[in-house]
């Protein structure tokens, strides 16, 4: 039979060979009899309507060849009419094709298809897949059986024929961008697949013996690792493009859903899991009474540096062993933390004026903890304070705290320092770090009253028992000491100049004069080399000295001080 031979040939060849005129003419015109509604046609029509192939008009023939297992009686019946092309199914196909993308308005004859060679080739390719010999499935679905390499086992996938009808569009995510031609091809394949005639005998699938070597657990683990790498605190920053794209897509879907064009389709979104960060643990264990630290070092915190060992001259502290010193250091650290908090709170706001209530409280608390001795009890209870100031960090602490203090507090601090200046200077021999206090302190010197000033300076004039030189000598030899002294003197001079009432002879004024003379004498006495260079040399010092001491001394002073200044 002609049909059997034609089955062997690809369809396009059959189409190109001239058909008997009866078939060609009747192909177009619907001068056919009433549609046969015999049941054998039903599956065929079903196939035709389901596929909706636009570019192919040979649906009917194709479907014949689609499945060799199709009931033979159907095939045989169709075989008889195949040549006639008067089949209503063919008509439908032809109509479909006419609506298709063929450039020519109609099909003149099955022989002249009016298709470009490339689309012909396309057709050939697609049809080849569906031709029964050799039978090959048209699409490798996700669960395709493995092919043993070597002899090819061409077992079709039953899922081809039982694919879910919902997947009409290519079953990729919204992100797959396919060339339109590619997309069309895939659509064709899928459409030709979706007809799942129930009469089909299920094709036994050759199971892949090596499938799932990678278990689901392992897959999940890999995915988890990959997800962890993707997680971020700020996805709109790190993954901007995807987030924006997804928002746009969702909006578009929502709009389409509103318009009723599309049923609610949820696009998948990448959501990275939130995984708790591993807790930081204390790797350094301090056991009370042990010698130092237990050596527990990990990659996260290598062995901590040993605590700073105090160097420099150690004064014999009665009963105060190194534990005392440690206590002071510890105390300083605590206070420093408080100071840092204050500084942090103040960082954002303006420099000085408006301190919040909380800040003021903090500052006050810190001041109290400093244990600054009271005005009246300058000598007593100064121990802690002095100890703090003996440590470099303590000096830094006070220096940084001063700007925050209210005036009265700062003044009392200044006076305390002035009072204990010789001791501080002595202890500072190693560090030489008192200088950092000068700047903040000098701001408050101007706020001293005359009386306060005198009180502060008086302590310096004392002659300690068992020593030939006054305390002030040591002060003069220290840079900070001499700078502070000069600043204080300058301030006193200013006050005296401004307020003529102080000129009168009263106790205060006498004291003042005594102090000035004494200091001048001490300066003159000292060799120029041992006189420390002041950080700031007030301009009104020399006039001050001029007024109180004789000329000769002034000249001597000048010389000494100038020399010291040059140094």
């Amino acid at each position: 039979m002609s049909t059997s031979t034609s089955e062997k040939q690809p369809l396009w060849i059959r189409l190109l060979t001239p058909e008997p005129p009866s078939t060609s003419s009747s192909g177009l015109h619907s001068s056919q009899g009433p549609e046969k509604s015999c049941s054998p046609l039903a599956p065929e029509e079903e196939l035709v309507s389901a596929s909706q192939l636009e570019e192919e008009e040979e649906n009917e023939n194709e479907e014949e060849n689609l499945d060799p297992d199709l009931a033979l009686d159907v095939e045989e019946e169709e075989e008889e009419e195949e040549n006639s092309l008067g089949d209503p199914a063919v008509l439908t196909a032809v109509h479909n094709a006419q609506k298709g993308l063929l450039s020519s308005p109609g099909i003149k004859a099955p022989g002249v298809l009016g298709m470009s060679p490339t689309s012909l080739y396309f057709l050939c390719q697609t049809l080849d897949y569906l031709s029964p010999s050799p039978f090959r499935p048209t699409h490798a679905s996700t669960s395709s059986p493995a092919r043993h390499f070597g002899p090819r086992l061409l077992s079709p996938d039953p899922s081809l024929f039982c694919s879910s009808p919902t997947l009409q569009s290519p079953r990729f995510s919204h992100l797959t961008q396919l060339h339109p031609q590619h997309q069309r091809m895939l659509q064709l394949q899928q459409q030709s697949r979706t007809p799942s005639p129930p009469a089909k005998k299920p094709w036994s699938q050759q199971p892949d013996p090596y499938a799932n070597l990678m278990t689901q657990k392992e897959k999940d683990w890999v995915i988890k690792v990959q997800m962890v790498q993707l997680q971020s605190e700020n996805p709109s920053l790190d993954d901007c493009y995807y987030q924006k794209y997804y928002q746009k897509l969702e909006k578009r879907q929502a709009d389409e859903e509103l318009l009723g064009q599309r049923s609610k389709v949820e696009s998948l979104k990448l959501v990275t899991p939130y995984i708790q960060k591993a807790e930081a643990y204390e790797s350094v264990v301090r056991i009370e009474g042990s010698l130092g630290q237990v050596a527990v070092s990990t990659c996260f915190s290598p062995r901590r540096a040993i605590d700073a060992v105090p160097h420099g001259t150690q004064e014999p502290e009665i009963g105060a062993t190194s534990s005392q010193r440690l206590r002071v250091l510890y105390w300083i650290e605590k206070m420093f933390l408080q100071l840092l908090e204050i500084e942090e709170g103040q960082k954002d706001g303006p420099s000085r004026p408006c301190y919040s209530e909380q800040q003021r409280n903090q500052v006050e608390k810190l001041f109290q903890s400093l244990n600054t001795p009271e005005q009246n009890h300058l000598d007593e209870a100064a121990d802690g304070f002095l100890q703090v100031l003996s440590v470099r960090k303590g000096k830094a602490l006070v220096a940084r705290l001063l700007p925050f203090l209210p005036q009265d507090r700062a003044v009392s601090l200044l006076l305390a320092i002035t009072h204990h200046l010789p001791l501080l200077v002595r202890r500072d021999a190693a560090d030489q770090a008192l200088q950092m206090l000068f700047q903040p302190l000098s701001k408050y010197i101007n706020h001293l009253t005359f009386h306060e000033l005198l009180q502060g300076l008086q302590g310096l004039m004392l002659l300690p028992p068992g020593s030939s030189e006054r305390l002030v000598t040591a002060v003069l030899q220290n840079q900070f000491g001499i700078s502070l002294l000069y600043a204080l003197l300058s301030h006193g001079e200013k006050l005296v100049c401004l307020d003529s009432s102080l000129e009168e002879s009263n106790s205060d004024h006498t004291v003042w004069t005594d102090i000035v003379i004494l200091i001048a004498w001490e300066i003159a006495q000292m060799p120029a080399t041992s006189l420390a260079e002041p950080l700031a040399f007030p301009s009104n010092l020399l006039p001050l000295f001029c007024r109180h001491v004789d000329k000769q001394l002034v000249q001597q002073l000048e010389a000494t001080m100038q020399l010291a200044w040059i140094y």
């Binding site: 390719q125 897949y129 090959r136 499935p137 048209t138 699409h139 490798a140 996700t142 395709s144 493995a146 092919r147 043993h148 390499f149 090819r152 990729f172 995510s173 992100l175 797959t176 892949d208 090596y210 499938a211 799932n212 070597l213 990678m214 392992e218 897959k219 890999v222 995915i223 690792v225 990959q226 997800m227 790498q229 993707l230 995807y242 997804y246 696009s267 998948l268 979104k269 990448l270």
Partner: protein, 133 residues
């Protein structure tokens, strides 16, 4: 893609036939059985395919474990379309012979080129990396 939308992942490619191109120029074809986070691959029933002109030859290799950094690209092979290739399969001996001939010709051409450049006082620095094929 279902697992990690918006990303590229090899999870969906497991148990499928793949063509893998390596950095040293080899072409491997096999079933992808396992992966990890570095895209190290386990290929099963692997075949090394050598292409010379319009001919190719397959050398069966068995199981391959490929370190991820050596992979240039890989792609799934459509089992149906696998045979629709204009290339002609030949025996292993033949393809190896063809390859040798091709390598020879290439070397000769390279030698001539270098000589010609040398005559003109130019020199091309040699690329001493693996990625040259």
């Amino acid at each position: 893609m279902n697992y990690m939308p918006g990303t590229a992942s090899l999870i969906e490619d497991i148990d499928k036939k793949h063509l893998v191109l390596l950095r040293d120029g080899r072409t491997l074809i096999g079933f992808l059985r396992s992966i990890d986070q570095f895209a190290n691959l386990v290929l099963h029933q692997t075949v090394e395919r050598i292409h010379v002109g319009k001919k190719y030859g397959d050398i069966p290799r068995g199981i391959f474990v490929v370190r991820g950094e050596n992979v240039v690209l890989l792609g799934e092979i459509d089992l149906e379309k696998e045979s629709d290739t204009p290339l002609q399969q030949v025996s292993i001996e033949e393809i190896l012979e063809e390859q040798r001939v091709e390598q020879q010709a290439k070397l000769e051409a390279e030698k001539l080129k270098v000589q010609a450049l040398k005559d003109r006082g130019l020199s091309i620095p040699r690329a001493d990396t693996l990625d040259e094929y």
